[in-house]
Structure formats: C-alpha cells, structure tokens
Symmetry: C2
Subunit: 337 residues, 2 copies
Amino acid sequence: MTTTRIARAFHLTARPTGFPTPDLFALTESPLPAPAPGQALVENLYLSVDPYHREEMDEGWELNAPLEGRAVGRVTASRDPGLAEGDLVLHRRGWRTHALVTAGTDGTRLLPSYEGVPLTAHLSILGGTGLTAYVALTRVLELRPGQDLFVSAAAGGVGTAVGRIARLLGAGRIVGSAGSAAKTARLTSELGFDAAFDYHDGPVGELLAKAAPDGIDAAVDNVGGDHLEGTIAAMREFGRIAWVGAIAQYHAAHRPPPAPRNLFDVVGKSLRLEGVLVRNHRDAQGELEDLLVPRLRTGRIAPDVTVVDGFERTVDGFLGMLRGENTGKMLIRTAGR
Amino acid sequence: MTTTRIARAFHLTARPTGFPTPDLFALTESPLPAPAPGQALVENLYLSVDPYHREEMDEGWELNAPLEGRAVGRVTASRDPGLAEGDLVLHRRGWRTHALVTAGTDGTRLLPSYEGVPLTAHLSILGGTGLTAYVALTRVLELRPGQDLFVSAAAGGVGTAVGRIARLLGAGRIVGSAGSAAKTARLTSELGFDAAFDYHDGPVGELLAKAAPDGIDAAVDNVGGDHLEGTIAAMREFGRIAWVGAIAQYHAAHRPPPAPRNLFDVVGKSLRLEGVLVRNHRDAQGELEDLLVPRLRTGRIAPDVTVVDGFERTVDGFLGMLRGENTGKMLIRTAGR
C-alpha cells in the first residue's frame, strides 16, 4: 500500500509575531521509518488543521520537530498487536505523511468500521468540532426543541456542526454569522440555517437584532468580543451562551478580545455564560456517534468540509483556515491516498 | 395598639444625579387612614432599605408619593377577612409608619407564627437577601460539601446570608471581602467566615489569591468589576460564579462596571457565570424556611442585621447602607413598636 519510501513532515522553525506566515514552516524529508515492536506505521490520508494550532505555534509545538495534529491514516506495517495492516486509525501525529503509532496510547484509536460514513467525518462532525458542537448544545445549553439559536462563525468547523446537530435536536430558528456574502448564502441554502448575516455589514448587535428580531434563547459563540456583546443583547431572559473559543484572539497574538460592555445584563436577564473545552467531554463521543452515524450512513447528513489537496499544501490550508477561507471543517488530503 | 393618630411617610422630591443626598427626600404627615372594606391598617415595625432602592430613585418610584419597600407590621384595624387585629404581615408598603394592605395582593402575606424566630429574620435571612443567597448557592452554584467559596461584599445583607447558609450546606473554606478592617474582623470572628480581606488594601485579585491560595470552586459576586475579575482569576477549573448584582453600579448612576479583562478565562477554565434575580425564584421560599426556621428557633443561627432606630432616620439608614455602614441586612425600626 505504501506509495513512497520517503516520509515528509512540517516543522515549525520560529515563533510567529502576529499573523503567521508560511516561512515559519519547513517541509522536511526523511527515510520511511520502520515500526519497532508495539508500533504501527500509518500512512496519513487526511490531516486536520485547527484554530488551536495557532496557539500551539506560540508555545505548544516544539521548534524543528514534527508538529502534532489530528489525522486519519491507514496502517501499512504493524508490530502492534492491536493494529493490522489496512486498519484505519485516528491519531494525533498529523502534519506529516507517515507516523509511527501505538493503539490506545496518545489518542490513537482504531476507527470503527462504519460502512458508508465518509472518512472525513471522523475529523469533522464525528471529531473534535462535532463533539464540541454536541456538548455545547446538549450539556451546556441543554437545548430544548423549539428554542431559537445563534451561532457565531457559523460557516466554520464548529459552526456548521452546531447548525446540523441543533436541527437534529429540534431547534427553532437558527441564525448564523459569517465573514462573507458567499458564506452567508451557503449557510441558508446548504447548511440548514434559517438566517445569516455577514459581520462586516455593520455592528454585530444590530445585524443580529435584525436577523433575530424576536430574540434568541441560546447561542454558541466562537468569537467573543463584539459577537458576545451582540449575543448578550439579543438574549431573552434565562438565555444561555456556550462559549467555545475566541477565534479572533488566536489571530491577535494573545491580545484578549474586548469584553462585552453589556456584561452586566447577565444579571438583569438571568443569563448563563459557560465555557466549553471539548477535552473535558470526551465521554460524550458515544452519544454523538449514536446520534450521527445512522444519519451519515444514509446520507441524510454529510460532513461539511473544505478539503485542500496535497500534503505540501498543509500550511496553505492552515493559514487559509485562519483567514476564514473554509466552509465547514478545513482538512488536508495527502497525496498518499 | 395604635400609638399615634398621624401617619408619616417619606416621599422622593427629585431624582438624584450621582450619590443621593437627604434633601431629595421629604417626610410627610397625614391623618391616619381608615381601612375601606377589604383593607387592613398596618402599623409598620421594621422597614427594609435595599440597594435596589437606589435604582428606584432613578425611575421606579414616583415623585411626591409614598415610596415602596418591604416592611413587617402589625394589623391595628381590619376590614379584610384575611387579616385580624394583631396579625403580623409582610408587605411592600414600607418607607412609612402606617399602610393600608389587603392580604394576598401586591405581595402582602400573613407571617407564619414561627415562635422564637425574630421578626427581623423575615426582612433578612428569611427575606429577599436570604432567598437570594439560598438560590445562588443551591440553584446556580449547586454547592457541594467541601467546596471552597468566595463571597464579595460579604458583610452586607446578601453576603452574610451566603456565609450562614453556605456553612449549613457544608461548604469548605469560606472567604469574604468587605470594605473595612472592622468588617473583615467581624466576618471571621462572628459571621462564620474562614478568611476575609478589606478590598481597599490592594488589587482584589492579589488579596483574594492570598486569602485563598489554593483557589476557589464557587463564588457569589455582589460587586462585579475588579471583584469579578479577581474571582475569575482565583477560580479552579469548572468553577461557578453566581452573579447577584453589582452594588458598585448603583452608586455610579448607571455607569456600567468595568468588564473583567480576563473574561476569556471562562473558556480556558470551563467556568460558568450566571445571573440571579431573586424575583424568578420565589418558589424556593418554602425550602429556605425548612432549612432555616428550626435553626432560628433554637438560636443556632440569628439574623445578621444592622438596625437603625426611629422612622425619621429611614433616609439616614438607606444612605448609610449605600455607603456600606451596615453589617448584615440594614433595617429601620420604627418608633411605633
């Protein structure tokens, strides 16, 4: 199955200041490694590039070493009794064409054989973005049928998953924000949203008030800052906000997003604002799969992804994701497929 | 039982700009009214003066009319079949010596005959401040035994009730902030707190970090601004903050309190920030009484109150409360007792 004797990997060569540039990354080559006892060699098929990788550039990732990220690959040689040649695995040794893994350690797991489920689903709606969306909706918002929902950065990986899953949970009106007219058009025409606005078109508070004139019961906020402020303003009494991150902050090299000026309305409207980190909710993975796998198999839903083709374009895909060029989850398809 | 033929009442004569002054109030006199059919005449014994009355000065209270506030009084004449002479009632016609009330309307209710329970309890730990504390601890924080708690404005009406009730619920370490060394001394010597600090002694974040070096699991915040920021900083992962108001804001004539600069840590530490308005939780009154009345009867706990003597000093008591001169709930004892 192996198509090459060379393994390629991206390294980070320097820390960024501000928005990252391609020259901070280096594409390295090395001979294909051989698995030691207990290891399997995996040829990666899809790589995930994520907003949190921007943070990893600042302090998580080591310089001049292979980078870490989620990936799906196929076992091409195995000395791990838990993995056989041909097995599909989900693991964390992304940003490279080949990886040595061991089942059950460091996040490596054999993919369930869900016939009919696209591989890309495991890095999108069944992966971290889907689980984030599911946990935000079910555990934090405890969304009830008929409740009206706002989703910021709605065309992104988490946002599209929120839209899909909220619809399955019986949400009422679903409103999303995105960064271009093309994306807002796709939100309403393809992605199941009832209304959408481009946040460049004015103050978020005003745009949201127009898109949801009767207010909202719940929100999943990916952005913070003015989006959070507009969300608080649009909230009905007892509304809940699941705060899953602040994409804007990753771009700003750790300048905190401005706090909403109307934060005190959390008291006046008895609101709940709660932070969600998916790493604390891995136990919900089974529930998520129970909900989605039957629908993915029948094609009732499909993963919303933007796929960049070619391992050598990984950095392009990553930077494009940071610029918001994707609709749905941004993935890299390596040439090895 | 009536000790006078004259009814006295405070009116508001003008709206304040900034911190209110005594000249905005006028003490009026009128002949004692006679109850119409369905009404009872009550002679007030205790009046409640509250932070929210500062807001009422801006827009709730009518000018040149008797003001509204909680009071406990005794029926001196009744044409209401639900009330008999001598009955004790809780009602909303405070800020005056006598009031015409009707049982079951406009918040008027016959006080249960809890022998041994001080009358002041009904305007403090069994009243709105106690119910606020109870709901914040049980419904919002869902405080579990052993959890460490921070209470801002801890020496006030809500704060002292939080301390008492949290102890009954099995809280771990209870830390409070207050505005003077005398108050912090009382918090630890009399009011059941394990540690306390005077927020004038430095940045709240630093003072709290010193008083709770291992962090906190839960907080009831009355203040907002730098107190909320310090609270977020001290929170352990999954911590919860019940936000019950922003006393500072009432003083500042509607300038919102500064939002915490570390708000994004709500995501990073998976925190929950939730607003509490006691008016949405009146159904918890029975639970509160079940918890406290047996302990009030035996004297195991006593209402924490500061009582200003004399109806004519109502405005002094109110302004003193806004300046933080009380420990526990600020009440006025009318001369009529």
